[in-house]
Structure formats: structure tokens, C-alpha cells
Symmetry: C4
Subunit: 191 residues, 4 copies
């Protein structure tokens, strides 16, 4: 089974998600600079989610690059990932419009946690199709970053109720950690 | 005539449908957990429709995988299917926002029935282009699941006026039945 | 210069247009059947525009199928077509929400006329790149349907101010005329 | 690393941006011609941004056409460009709805400046992967137009506070200058 449509469909969904998030930045009625001020937290939560979706797209790209074939289980593991990603615009808007209040920040982390787990399940579904000495297996290795991300989310979610800005900073930390694309796969493919 | 653009266009439409449905989950003004409560039925109807669109995408993927070529009639059978699928966000929102009331649940089933019939017509249009001993013909076989789905919808639609939650459960049943992707085609291709 | 991205980009834009039009069908607050009644004209104008965009996509597909290469002029002729197509959701909504009143029906025809002219310019830009005995040239021939459509729009637009329903029927006539995809190209390719 | 998904994802994002901008043209409640009058500035700002996004898509197409391979750095330079492009619908709506007032016009230019710089960084990231005598390097040459655009934006942004229509005219000038697609690349590829 070819992976072409899986890539095309995922590209489509992520491209749309990254774009409709910007609709939450509602065009103000007034023309002055002051009209933009209420949009600042919404802009920051937009920029953060843009980076997260960019990371997912980039890692998904690397992951499928190292993949030779897919099956029905992979299709559904991928749709499961897209389901959680599809909720990002909602939590992004809720967090931005409520100035990073406790519950929205905690829900943001929960959706991010679910997406991270879904991505991990997708790698498992792909590994089940590839030999343990394949490019994919070598490239994924122990998946250090994926595991650390999950731990950070688990810490940040309860933290949101103590200090939601600190929890938000932990999300930024995860994003920064991932910003370097998954060199493991690039390096392994190069060899 | 190549099938590439048919796949790309269908991927695009389904990706957009699956994504704009989430816009019906409107970002609440308040930051508390209570603000999410009214969204619960909308979330469930979103999740159900996400799974249905995922099933259509996955089955469409399998179907076209077994297809060698397409013609103008297939293009239009496919557009006809996409037309009914394009109404899913509307009925999903109507059903969710009205807490699974009778008419919205009945209309949801009607659109699902129309989409199921349109999918069946698409398989007929494809079969007309392929020999009766082709991969496609063998893989589709008697299309048991497709016929059962249509019967369930025909039962569920009138049932919505007696007990709309029971009708809704029948839709969930159809989704569960289809969640396993069409192994027939995978198996036939593997041989 | 390859035609792949021209096709992909056009597929994307048309897929999105066909899908966002459905957002004009706003989810009613009430659950009864009566709540759907005001949506009936909007639904009909949606269905008509869905068919028109389907026709453009299908003909575009056939046209590019017969094309060997593209240049910068073709890119812009194509973007020019997409510009007019992008206004279809707006005029569709305006016509539907105002129950096929004179001005909206006339503007609908004007946008359709502009799109038809833009499609004609695209065929000219493509012909300039291909020999007069190429598949494309033979397939396009005298482009009878394209010319008749333009004449019908020119008649229908002023007619909208006398009887907007009659003008609307002429648009349906154009759609019916085109529903059969461009067999000329399929036949010429088959030879 | 293949460039296919980079192209597909960029096509998707630009196609969606170009299309959701049209949602800012809100369907009027009245059916008369007068109902369209308030939309005229919004229409012009839509048309201008459509042309700009068309230029970016067309130049991106030419740029990637001359590219042999991409790496993680190129992926992120591309996402960075898409981030600024994703803000175009917002500034387009703000400028159109406020009849080309000073601040919206200045912000429009700022986003365009950021996108132009991001495009320049993308060409740098691509050049780092290709030899100085490659098709890409020869084709890009001194990138005269790119540099002139940045200078015009830098002049137009402060000018918006003196005469916003004059600043707007400078944006139109940039668009006209770019409307001819990047012949350098086409010519170099042809050789």
C-alpha cells in the first residue's frame, strides 16, 4: 500500500489547521493601533500553535520519508493523530482569548499530550511494519525527545492551576526543544 | 485517464470538511471549566463525524488503490459522493447544537444514507471500467458492509422520532463496523 | 516547466471553494423541520455552484491532461481563472440569502461570465505552447460549448432584471450542457 | 530529502490563504446594488492580496523547480515564510474594512516586508545546499527585484502616516513589478 495519499491527506489537514487558526485573530472595527492591543495574547497563542503544527508537519515528513509502506492500522493511527491536532485551533483560541487563564492552559497541554501520545502510537504502528534494523528503526532509536515532551506536559498540566504562565513557558520549552528537526532520520538516511 | 488528480481533489475536499467541522466548536468567552459544558454534545457529534469522514477517506483510499483507470463518469460519481459528504459539517453542527433532537438526528442519517448510496454508485462506475476478474471486482466482492450500512440507516431514520439517542447509537454501530478498513482489498492486492 | 504544481494548486483552491460555500448554510438554532425552511434557497444556490465548480474542476482536469508543458503565462492565466472562481462563494451566498433577487442573480451571471472568459484565455495560453496538430488543439477544436455558455450568460444577465428566475434557469441550462465532461479530449487521447 | 511534500504543503497553505481571504467579503443582507458599495474597498484589498499571494506561489514554484534537494533548515525557512503569509488575510481585512487608513496600511506593508525578508532567507537556505554554479544560483543571480521590493516597503511604511493612499500605490507598484514571473529561472532552466 502506497504512502502517497497518507502524506497528501496529512499535509492537507495540517495546512488547513495552521491556516484556520488565524481566523481567531478577528479583524478589529477600529483603525488605530489601540485596536490591536486585545489581540496580542491571541497572536502569541497563534504563533505558539503555528510552531507546534510546523513541528508535527516537519517530524511527520521525516517519519514518512523513512517509511517504505503503510497498512490500514497506520492509516488509523494517523487519523487518530490528526483528530487531536484538529482540536488545536479550538484550544489555541480559548487560551489566547482568556489571556492564558488556568483551565484553558491546562486544556491546551492536555490536547498537546494527547497529540504526543498519538504520534508515539503512529511510530509504533509504523515500526510493526518495518524490521528492527530498518532505516526507520535506527532513525527513531529511543525517541528521547518524544518521551521528554510527554513528561513535560504531565508536569505542566497541573502546574497551570498554580501559575498558568509558568505552564505556558514549559510548552514554549517543548517547542524550542523540537525546533531542530529530527536529525536522527536525516543522518540515518544519509548513511 | 490518470487517477492522480481524482485522489488529490478528494483528499483536499475531505481534509477541509474534517477540519471546518471543528469551527462549530465555538471558542467560549469564559475561561472556566463550566464554559466547556455546553460544547460536550457538539464535541461528540464532531468526533462521530470525524470518524465517518475518516472511514470514507480510508475506504476511498483502498478503492482507488485497486483502480487502474478512471473516466468522466467516475469523476462525476466521485463529485456526487463529495456533495453529500460536504453536507456533513452542517448536519453535525445541527445535531450537536440541538442535543441530538429528533429532526437533526433523522437528517444526519439521511445525509449518511445519501453518502452511502453515492459511494455504492462510485463502486459501480469503477466496476464498469474493470473486468469482472480484476483486483477491484474480487476485492469488492458482495460488499456486505456497504449493504448492511444502508439497511441500518433506513431503520435508524424513522427511529429518530421515537428515540433519537437509540438512532444515534445505530450510527455509532455503523462507524464501529467500518472502523476496520476494507481488508478485502488489502488481502486481494497482497495475493 | 512541470504542470504538477499547477494542478495541485488548482485542486487545492477549487476543493476549498467548493467546501467553504457550505459555511453559508448556517446551522439553525431550533431543532424542528421549520428551522430548515429559510435555508432552502441557500441550499439550491449552493447545489448549483457546487455543480459549476465541479464542471470547472472536471474540465480543468481534462485540459491539463492533454497538456505537455506550461509557462509563466499559463500560471497567470490559471490564477486569473481562480480569482473569478474564488468569488463564487460570495455571489452564491448573496443570491441564496436574497431568494434569487434581480441584482444578486445578475452579479452571479457576471462572475460566471468572467470565469468563462478566464477559462477561454487559459486555453489560448495553453494553445500558444502547443502545435496546432497537438492533442490539445485537436481536442479543443472549435470549443462550441465554451462559446455558447458566454452567449447564454450575456443574455441572462440583463434578463435577471425582468425575471430573475428565468435568468437562474438559464444558468441551470449551462450547467446541464456542461455536465457531460469534455469527451472531445477523452476521445482524442484515446486515439 | 525530497522536495515533494514541501511543495504540496506550501501549495495547500497558500491555496487556503488565498481562499479564506474571500470570507472577509461578508454577504450583505440586502439585495440591492447599494449593499455592495461598502464592500468596494474590501474587494480592492482582497484583489491586491490575491495578486501578492499569486506572486509568492508563482515565484515559490519557480524557485523549487530549480531546486534539487532540501534539508531541515529549508523546511523551517519555508514555514517561516508561510507564517508571515498566513497573516495576510488579517491585514487585508483590517486595511479593507478601514478604507486604507494609516495604521492598517502601515501594518500591511510591515507584514509584506516580513514576508519578503522570509523569502530572501529561504533562497539563502536553498543556496547553502547548492553549488554556486548550479541552476538555482545562476537563476537567482543578484535578485534585483527582491531587494527593490524591500526598499519600497521600507519607504512605504512610514509614508502611510503621511498619505496612506500613496503608500498603497507603492504596494501596487511592487505587485506590478513582480507580475512577470521570474524569467531568470525559466531562462536558465531552458539553457
Amino acid at each position: 500500500m502506497s504512502k502517497g495519499r497518507l502524506e497528501a491527506f496529512s499535509d492537507g489537514v495540517i495546512a488547513i489547521l495552521i491556516t484556520i487558526m488565524v481566523l481567531e485573530l478577528k479583524v478589529p472595527q477600529q483603525a488605530g493601533l489601540a485596536a490591536l492591543r486585545p489581540l496580542i495574547p491571541i497572536f502569541f497563542s497563534y504563533a505558539l500553535s503555528f510552531v507546534f503544527l510546523g513541528i508535527y508537519w516537519s517530524n511527520h515528513h521525516h517519519l514518512l520519508q523513512a517509511t517504505q509502506h503503510v497498512d490500514g492500522r497506520v492509516l488509523w493511527a494517523n487519523l487518530h493523530l490528526l483528530f487531536w491536532l484538529s482540536l488545536i485551533p479550538f484550544v489555541t483560541g480559548w487560551m489566547g482569548e482568556n489571556h492564558f487563564a488556568a483551565w484553558p492552559v491546562a486544556l491546551y497541554g492536555t490536547i498537546m499530550l494527547a497529540a504526543a501520545v498519538a504520534y508515539y502510537l503512529l511510530t509504533l504502528a509504523l515500526m510493526a511494519l518495518h524490521a528492527s534494523n530498518s532505516v526507520l528503526a535506527t532513525a527513531l532509536g529511543r525517541d528521547f525527545k518524544g518521551k521528554v515532551s510527554i513528561v513535560i506536559y504531565l508536569v505542566a498540566i497541573p502546574l497551570a492551576f498554580l501559575n498558568s504562565w509558568f505552564a505556558g513557558s514549559l510548552y514554549v520549552l517543548v517547542a524550542v526543544m523540537w525546533l531542530v528537526p529530527d536529525r536522527r532520520i536525516e543522518k540515518t538516511l544519509a548513511r
